[in-house]
Symmetry: C2
């Protein structure tokens, strides 16, 4: 049943599941579960939701992705960027902390899930390609800065607000008088400890003689240690009485069955954010999945990934969660810990289910500042300012896309930042193609190859003008070619034949066809031949359907060399070398 296993990849790997894979998956699941408990609580806080929402959002979605997804190592659940976007989308509509807020998060997850599913079923995964690497890099970096700044209030123990970077900074400065010194001490020490775990612990453990894998696992357990120590201190010293904000009581329960708010007004307001969350979540997830699959020479199917993520989000919507996607950090840990199949995800879900029932009372005294420190250290790893330097060196256009995306994401939010970055990238690309590079070419001596007369020592002929058009011809540049040839002929009155070398013309649309017809008439009026060479198959097929070829005042040559031979044969003695 190849068609069924296409939509249910579990039928494929499930059939070959054995004991080795089971034990590997189980170990990976244990490590990921330990890492996910504090992370899930922290991201729920970032999304403006109660802590248990983060754990619930990791259980059903992971199981559903295990059935429908194609990546062997992807771990699905709450991630930083999507949590931020959830808070931004719902925060504009509903008051944080209300029941309506949590219901709206379910609606957002449902809408996002349905959109992902529809994109997958209609095989529209390619729309993610419109997010260029510079836009993604700029948006991820800016989100990291935004998220880190948004958590500063928990480290300082103040009640600041704001949705954009300037708003947050102003609000934090306005509330500096209310800093809680005990919270600040916990926050700063935990942040410093976690940074040290990230940078210094692993080399130290290796020097102490631990194997690389064990050192890695202990390093990943750093946040758990921070949680245990700060929770213990807060409980032992009664720090919550000194104004330290704590997580408080979390219900002891498996994920509940929940119904999203389906009021048309709310759905209308959330459609656009849901689309953006879907696309960005998909891009993040598919990037991670492709990277990990390539390491084991496996392949993922982007359209089926959309279906897997769609199912995961729909699952989140009905089990008290919020929008989820395949996370970078959790997936890499899962992969490094040896996960072989999506069953590792299922075991993680079981582990988190046990945690949700048994462990939630233990986090009552967990300080918010510890969670904030976990988030800050995680997201600052996403910030990569070097993309500005790299794109500046390579291309000013790509640099502009990164810069605009970063600045607008920080100043006006993720949606405006990403949308402007995408539109700017498209406009810059179109403008680039609107003034094509056109090279006058000549024959490289001793070969049949033709190159730009200004870059290579080549042979030309005074009666013959050969122009290599370095762009597909379409409406945006149709007029340009017409103008260019008219100008060029005015400056070279001796020319008897013009060859347009079509080796780089990948398509000719109707507007460009009309321009070519106009050029043909113009040259015919002036008694100048118009020829084409090296026309690609698809372009030739298209031109044959029009009358252009039958009216062409010249010939179509298979190769430029053939055109050269035919058009210069009469006057070989007049060929002269040129070039720099």
């Amino acid at each position: 049943m190849p068609s069924l296993s296409r939509y249910l990849p579990i039928l494929d790997w499930g059939r070959r599941y054995d004991r080795d894979a089971f034990s590997n998956d189980l170990i990976a699941a244990l490590i990921v579960t330990i890492m996910l408990i504090p992370q899930s609580l922290a991201y729920a806080m970032l999304a403006g939701l109660p802590p248990e929402a983060g754990i619930y959002a990791s259980i059903a979605p992971i199981l559903l992705y295990a059935i429908f997804g194609t990546s062997r190592a992807l771990a699905v659940g709450p991630v930083a960027v999507v949590s931020l976007m959830t808070a931004a989308a719902i925060g504009q509509i509903v008051q944080t902390g209300t029941a309506g807020y949590a219901a709206a998060a379910l609606t957002l997850a449902l809408l996002s899930g349905l959109m992902l599913l529809a994109l997958g079923l209609f095989r529209l995964g390619f729309i993610a390609n419109f997010l260029s690497h510079p836009v993604i890099a700029g948006f991820i970096t800016a989100s990291g800065l935004l998220i880190a700044t948004s958590q500063l209030k928990h480290i300082l123990g103040i009640k600041a607000g704001g949705a954009t970077l300037p708003e947050m900074v102003v609000s934090i400065i306005g509330h500096l008088g209310q800093i809680n010194p005990v919270t600040l001490a916990i926050g700063v020490l935990t942040t410093a400890f976690l940074f040290w775990v990230r940078k210094g612990l692993k080399p130290m453990l290796r020097r102490l003689g631990l194997g690389p894998r064990m050192a890695d696992i202990l390093t990943k357990a750093g946040p758990v240690a921070a949680v245990v120590v700060t929770t213990g201190l807060t409980w032992g010293l009664g720090l919550n009485a000194h104004g330290v904000a704590i997580v408080g009581s979390v219900p002891q329960s498996l994920p509940p069955l929940t119904l999203p708010d389906l009021s048309p007004e709310l759905i209308g307001q959330l459609l656009l954010p849901a689309l953006l969350i879907s696309i960005i979540g998909f891009v993040e997830s598919v990037s991670v999945a492709q990277t990990l699959a390539a390491k084991k020479r496996q392949r993922i199917s982007p359209d089926q990934e959309l279906i897997g993520l769609g199912a995961a989000n729909i699952g989140a919507a009905f089990t008290g969660g919020y929008p989820v996607t395949g996370g970078f950090a959790r997936s890499v840990v899962n992969f490094d810990a040896g996960a072989e199949t999506p069953a590792a995800g299922a075991f993680t879900a079981i582990g988190l289910g046990i945690a949700a029932i048994a462990l939630t009372p233990l986090v009552y005294f967990l300080p918010d500042a510890t969670l904030a420190a976990t988030i800050i250290v995680a997201v600052l790893g996403l910030v990569d300012i070097s993309i500005l330097k790299k794109t500046w060196a390579y291309s000013r256009k790509d640099f502009a896309a990164v810069l605009v995306t970063i600045v607008l994401t920080l100043a006006a939010g993720v949606e405006i930042g990403v949308a402007t970055g995408v539109i700017l990238s498209i406009v810059m690309h179109l403008l680039h193609t609107s003034r094509p590079h056109i090279a006058e070419v000549g024959l490289v001596p001793g070969t049949e190859h033709f190159r730009n007369i200004h870059r290579h020592e080549v042979i030309t002929h005074p009666d013959l003008l050969t122009l290599r058009i370095d762009e597909s011809l379409y409406f945006v540049n149709a007029r340009f070619l017409d103008d260019y040839i008219q100008d060029r002929l005015t400056r070279a009155p001796r020319i008897r034949n013009v060859v347009l070398m079509f080796s780089a013309v990948n398509s000719v649309d109707f507007s460009a066809l009309e321009s070519l017809e106009a050029i043909n008439h113009l040259l015919k009026d002036r008694n100048i031949g118009l020829h084409l060479s090296e026309v690609k198959g698809p372009v030739m097929d298209r031109l044959k359907t029009a009358h252009f070829l039958s009216e062409l005042n010249g010939q179509v040559f298979l190769s430029q060399y053939h055109a050269w031979q035919m058009l210069t044969r009469q006057n070989m003695e007049r060929i002269c070398p040129t070039g720099s």
Copy 2:
């Protein structure tokens, strides 16, 4: 003073003005003036303005264009499409027939003039290139149908309304009971007469022995004859007492000095329509000007044309007019009548000035139905349904653009129709480039030329895979190339070297560079060489700034033939012919 005469072309042609040019210009002006009097009244009616606005809009704008414009034959003034767009833009905001309506038309002309001027000064004329030929053709055809339908009420003598085709048809049907039979008789007979003048008069005059030019002039005077006869009949028989709507009293005056309404609210509402009117007016005008200039081997400067049209519209705003542009019909008449310089336009302005003072009382009894007939016959000449057939034969994408533009212009108005047509054209172009044509190529025997193995009999080598990528590489297709090569290698495990033939790759952006780096790493891991051939100068310059070339697991070859020679030298005996 080359720089001054660039902005003031009058300094250029004015210096060489002589007696011959003067007499030719004077004759052309006389003919155009006679044609413009009924046309100006009719288009003002179409725009929902009093008749004199049409005459005023032809005087100052023509003079200003004569100073700043570069076309020798373009005649600037009210045109059908811009009149329709003016009515649509203002009709949504102000009640037709009020003083506020006329003031808003002045504001629209001022905004349009300032935008055109700004586009010209910043040399942004290329934005008109985003209107593809199919979108323009579709929009012109739909506008012709819309305008003709909008005039039916004057032919029928009823008070119908509506802004879109369905609205108009419903409104006309609802008012059919109020048809005025006398008006209907005048309207139908005039329309039939004008159609006959268009199709039948000229051949008849030629058969009667008249010269072609004289026959042409008499044909163009047809509308004047219709005006004279129907006005005379209405006056003589007192038809206005039988319910025939007439033009009525028109002030006897030169264009007055007027001030546009500058309230910020009105300006805000008119910004977008003004931009669209500017761009569409510019496209119409520049198309006519280029066509006429090419016939005399003259050149126009699109950016200076923007300045000329900008000045004309600003002039219209302060002299009781409304948005103007270079009209097709009037410009062709001007050209055919022998106009040599923009002075012909100035003489036309003088003629219309005299008409505004002396002739306006004569049009008191002119029936609206006659003007409507003039418009209908003129605009039905714009309707060209054959564009649907032509684009269908050439390309389904271009056909879709025409169809969507026509349907939406008719059903939802010019602004939505054109905007959707432009966006659809851009999206279809981007989608086309998102899945590039990639051809596997081999050597054409006896040449150094490489072609698609599926279209030509070529020689290939089993160790060597040569892919010609028929598209610039940029973010929209960056992932596609990566996927394509991975798939291709899975199906051909024997390959030792991959050559990417870059003859059709006109640019490589940062996203595509990262994809190329990923492909390079992938092939390096599998011990397969990655080579490039026929990389264009601008692309090579760009790749040199990145580290890609130094890390490339292979070489860059000047020509594909050179790559072939180098990479197959060791195993020449294994070369085998393939192909159909």
